[in-house]
């Protein structure tokens, strides 16, 4: 791990990710991909400690994403990217949308109202991607035809491959400190105990909101065509992050402006 970045946050992101993987393995045994919601409810309501493990999986996934965002901010400010080659930097930037997908697909596979709606919206957006949209959809989503089979496989595979890849060339797992892991586990446990993640039942009022980080895009979809709102707009921060290595100032302005705008969009979305 680069010494110029905030090591606590960097390791917190790695630890959260590791805990999400471990808890995910426990959940994978009782989870039945052909009846995702029934098995998720079964995990929560029938299996001893099932809701606890699912809560841990949910919150460690969320913490991994949030710590990753902080890690990116600290890394950009510390200009740690300067020591990386373009190839290495490009790969690192690519891990960000993959992490978002790992988190997003976790919502989709549980197949409650939020997950189901998010899956269908994501499928529509993937189909808007020029040339490879259909391929991407069949690779990652295709919920309308195949339920959550593909998205579950993608959730599982991408999460593990991502972690293995990052272990291989971004951080050394041997340097992981057990107390940092305990610290993250405790935060996730406290959140699980006091704010258990709730599945949302299907309701007829059509006011369903997607995962919290998706609400901004959902709001923008009300105002712009799907291609612009769901493909071009979310690609902007990834492109800006990639370009940060060469055009730091401009990319920084774009990143800040995008996030401010996205925050505003999310606020509007949540207030509906």
């Amino acid at each position: 791990m680069n010494s110029r970045v905030n090591s606590f946050i960097a390791w917190a992101a790695a630890n959260s990710f590791l805990l999400a993987l471990i808890s995910g393995v426990f959940l994978a045994f009782p989870f039945r991909v052909e009846m995702p919601l029934i098995s998720t409810v079964g995990i929560e309501g029938v299996l001893p400690f099932g809701d606890f493990v699912r809560g841990l999986h949910f919150y460690t996934g969320q913490l991994a994403f949030l710590f990753l965002l902080l890690h990116i901010v600290y890394s950009l400010r510390a200009r740690s990217f300067e020591r990386k080659s373009w190839f290495s930097w490009s790969l690192l930037v690519a891990t960000f949308p993959l992490t978002v997908f790992a988190l997003f697909s976790g919502y989709v596979v549980r197949n409650d109202e939020i997950g189901s709606s998010a899956g269908h919206i994501a499928e529509s957006l993937l189909l808007e991607v020029p040339l490879i949209g259909n391929f991407l959809n069949h690779l990652l989503m295709a919920v309308s035809k195949e339920g959550v089979h593909r998205v579950y496989a993608a959730h599982f595979c991408i999460s593990f491959l991502l972690f293995i890849g990052l272990c291989g060339w971004h951080f050394n797992l041997k340097r992981l400190k057990i107390w940092d892991l305990v610290y993250v586990a405790l935060v996730a446990m406290i959140l699980t105990v006091f704010y258990p993640p709730l599945l949302r039942p299907f309701e007829p009022d059509l006011s369903v909101l997607g995962p919290w980080f998706f609400v901004g895009i959902q709001e923008l979809l009300r105002h712009l065509p799907p291609f612009w709102a769901g493909v071009v707009f979310p690609s902007i921060p990834v492109a800006a992050l990639w370009a940060y290595k060469k055009y730091s100032k401009l990319a920084g302005i774009i990143l800040v402006a995008w996030h401010v705008f996205y925050f505003f969009l999310s606020l509007v979305g949540f207030s509906r």
Binding site: I38, G45, M189, L198
Partner: protein, 415 residues
């Protein structure tokens, strides 16, 4: 720091263990016949009637809450006791897969708006112009939302405001608690004790209608052969009141009942759903909403004056019959007497002009308002300044006066 983390971790794990031991786990995931998860069924054994069977509908489509959770506080969050309440009905009875067309119609119906009552009061009391009609603000929903009040509206709120579909069932005290409830005001009847759940029915019993339709024209009472007596239960018989009392304490006497009542028919044998639940139009008065006429059945082939079919009227063996909703009995529908009814000199007579030999009439109704007292506002269930009192006197059960309305000779009844 490390010791603190260990301590906190142990406490949390102990708490989780305690919680796990204490909680009730479901033996399985409960689903409806369509495969929808309904964990409510793990604890609840209430059994509604066949149409809303628990295995088919479950609990949450009607009572909301979270059917995906087992913990009581989480599962019951957002739950409602009465799915028929018009405040939530779009999410419950009116949900897309059930009765989606009904909430919009019912909310426009006179039983929900009370538009006629409110409009007439405001006009008679000079608070709006005489020709003010079709006012959206003349509705219970508007009064509930805005809290608008005036002298005429205060009268409505305190004396009339318990008989409308927006009334929350069980909200008001005493016998008034039975009134209202939106859909269930009409469609709910008590179920068998072992079912632990009331029955929802399309066979609306007479008492559900009469719960409200027992004042003013008193049609619900007269139909059953009850005459609201002016008096005090006199003459006394064997040391007790000589008259029956209604649930609200009014005295009634027995009189000959309506022939349809004697035949075992109830209100919904004749009145169709568009009259009671609305046809989507916002009417001012009930005479605009009511469709059936005597001639719809008697010589009219079961068609209302608005051209709709009366469901229970059909032709069998060359004869028009009406099949009683409760009795199943087939009543032959006799056409109007070709001599008495169709005679030229009787052409302008309404059926009631001859067939209502006695009608309850009240010549001495008056109202007193005391601004010093307080009285229950039935819309808000709060006591507010000003109390109204109704007085009835000179009540009679007599031949009605005949009058001309438009081109028709009708009965004219005060009270």
């Amino acid at each position: 720091m490390k010791k603190l983390l260990v301590f906190l971790g142990v406490i949390l794990l102990a708490f989780m263990l305690f919680k796990e031991l204490k909680r009730k786990r479901a033996p399985q995931v409960f689903t409806t016949t369509s495969g929808r998860v309904e964990m409510c069924l793990a604890c609840h054994d209430e059994a509604p009637e066949k149409v809303h069977a628990r295995e088919v509908v479950g609990c949450s489509p009607c009572h909301l809450g979270n059917p995906l959770r087992m913990e009581k506080d989480l599962a019951h969050a957002g739950m409602i006791k009465n799915p028929g309440d018009l405040r939530v009905v779009e999410k419950t009875c009116g949900r897309p897969e059930c009765h989606p067309q009904m909430p919009g119609k019912v909310k426009k119906s006179l039983m929900a708006t009370n538009r006629g009552i409110i409009n007439v009061l405001l006009r008679y009391w000079g608070e709006i112009p005489e020709d003010a009609k079709n006012r959206p603000e003349d509705s219970v929903e508007y009064l509930l939302k805005t809290g608008k009040n005036s002298l005429a509206l205060d009268y409505y709120r305190k004396l009339c405001g318990s008989c409308h579909l927006w009334m929350e069932k069980g909200k008001l005290p005493d016998f008034l608690a039975e009134k209202g409830g939106g859909c269930v005001a009409c469609h709910l009847v008590k179920g068998p004790k072992e079912a632990k759940h009331p029955v929802l029915t399309r066979k609306i019993p007479l008492e559900n209608c009469v719960r409200c339709h027992n004042r003013s024209g008193r049609i619900g009472l007269t139909y059953q052969g009850l005459y609201e007596d002016e008096g005090y239960g006199t003459p006394y018989l064997e040391g007790d009141f000589g008259a029956e009392t209604l649930i609200d304490g009014r005295f009634v006497r027995r009189i000959p009942a309506d022939v349809h009542y004697k035949a075992g028919l109830v209100c919904v044998d004749c009145h169709i759903s568009e009259e009671t639940m609305g046809d989507g139009k916002a009417y001012n008065h009930f005479e605009e909403s009511v469709e059936i006429t005597c001639r719809s059945c008697h010589g009219g082939k079961g068609i209302t004056r608005k051209g709709r079919k009366i469901p229970r009227v059909k032709k069998e063996g060359g004869k028009w019959i009406l099949e009683g909703i409760f009795t199943g009995k087939k009543h032959e529908l006799k056409p109007p007497d070709p001599i008495k009814c169709e005679h030229t000199v009787h052409k302008r007579l309404s059926c009631q002009a001859c067939h209502s030999p006695r009608v309850p009439q009240c010549f001495g109704c008056h109202v007193r308002y005391d601004p010093r007292e307080k009285q229950l506002d039935k819309l808000t269930n709060r006591e507010t300044p000003g109390a109204w009192e109704e007085f009835r006197s000179y009540m009679r059960l007599e031949e009605p006066t005949l009058g001309v309305k438009g081109d028709e000779v009708v009965i004219i009844v005060p009270g």
